[in-house]
Symmetry: C2
Subunit: 202 residues, 2 copies
């Protein structure tokens, strides 16, 4: 039997759907069981409690996101190239997992201690290399002076916000689903240009 067909994995898969769309508090164990096509008792057999099942889903979700961040942080390419790649890759990735950013951001806000557990994990994104690279390129006169943390948050903000605030932005800009998708698609390059325009020393 393939891994994807085991009961344990079917549960995790159903739990992912339910938790990511309804959050910890809105999710119902019965709904997860129904979606997985099994008895509710099985959830507890494999994962003990709602909390533990939730944590399994959350860690899974975060372990998808972290490599996306590390991609920009841990390679040696010039900042400009980092930004172009990240903006393109991250947006492509998020269009495939639209619930992910909101799920993670929201559950971290609900329980601030939660991130402490994540920090312990190896693979938790580290900014040091990125900062050093930014500072180096500023010294070389390649970039205008900017605090690396601020730049990093700006990059994150511009890429993540369209997914977090989708319902609001859709309404404000009066776009339907199709137009919003095109809007997001064009951001793959627009955002990179916007950032680079701002920081590149002319």
């Amino acid at each position: 039997m393939k891994k994807e067909e085991t009961t344990e994995h079917q549960i995790l898969d159903a739990a992912k759907d339910v938790f990511q769309s309804k959050g910890m508090d809105g999710a119902r164990m019965q709904e997860i069981a129904d979606k997985a096509g099994i008895n509710k008792a099985m959830l507890h057999y494999y994962y003990r409690s709602k909390q533990l099942l939730f944590e399994a889903v959350f860690k899974n979700a975060f372990s998808l996101l972290a490599p996306q961040l590390n991609a920009i942080l841990n390679d040696d390419s010039p900042i400009e190239e980092k930004i172009r790649n990240f903006t393109n890759d991250y947006t492509t990735f998020m269009m495939k997992h639209p619930y992910l950013p909101n799920f993670i951001i929201n559950e971290l806000n609900r329980n601030e201690d939660f991130i402490l557990k994540l920090k312990e994990n190896t693979g938790f994104p580290n900014l040091e290399k990125f900062k050093a690279k930014v500072d180096a390129e500023i010294s070389q006169g390649n970039l205008k002076p900017i605090d690396a943390d601020q730049l990093f948050v700006n990059i994150l903000a511009l890429n993540i916000f369209p997914f977090l605030g989708k319902p609001l932005v859709k309404a404000l800009t009066k776009k339907d689903e199709k137009a919003y998708k095109a809007f997001t698609e064009s951001r793959k390059t627009e955002v990179a240009n916007f950032i680079i325009n701002s920081i590149k020393q002319s």
Copy 2:
């Protein structure tokens, strides 16, 4: 008796606290009653149901946010000035209401139909004037060509994200509460500079 001391208002006040920090699903009517210092039956006496109490809180919250957006959209000052003012005012405002962005974004994601009700309200932010102004300044050669929707989303993203993603950003940039506050404070001008650097025709 002042308006703030009426039972009805005390309920709304307590409900705001609880709903904004725990969300619709996580909030408990008993907790709201306790926080308001009254009997649980009073909640239903004044607001009928949890759903209606929630909607009262939500509309209230949105009616705080909308004027902040309209400020940038509906005045006649040059784009550069709009951006500087908005970035400063919005961040100042959000530092006073840190739960607001997450609450609104999150509940809109939970129930996409909800925004339809808001759209009907007069005072729902309208981008037309802002777009016209951006296009005009581009024609004048004052700004580099950019889609006004994209620019608007960028402005929003850069200003809102530090509040939405606070726990994540705090962890990634390894800042404590005090450092994060200073970081946010300095964004009042940093973000405006970042945007204007990017779009100003040199």
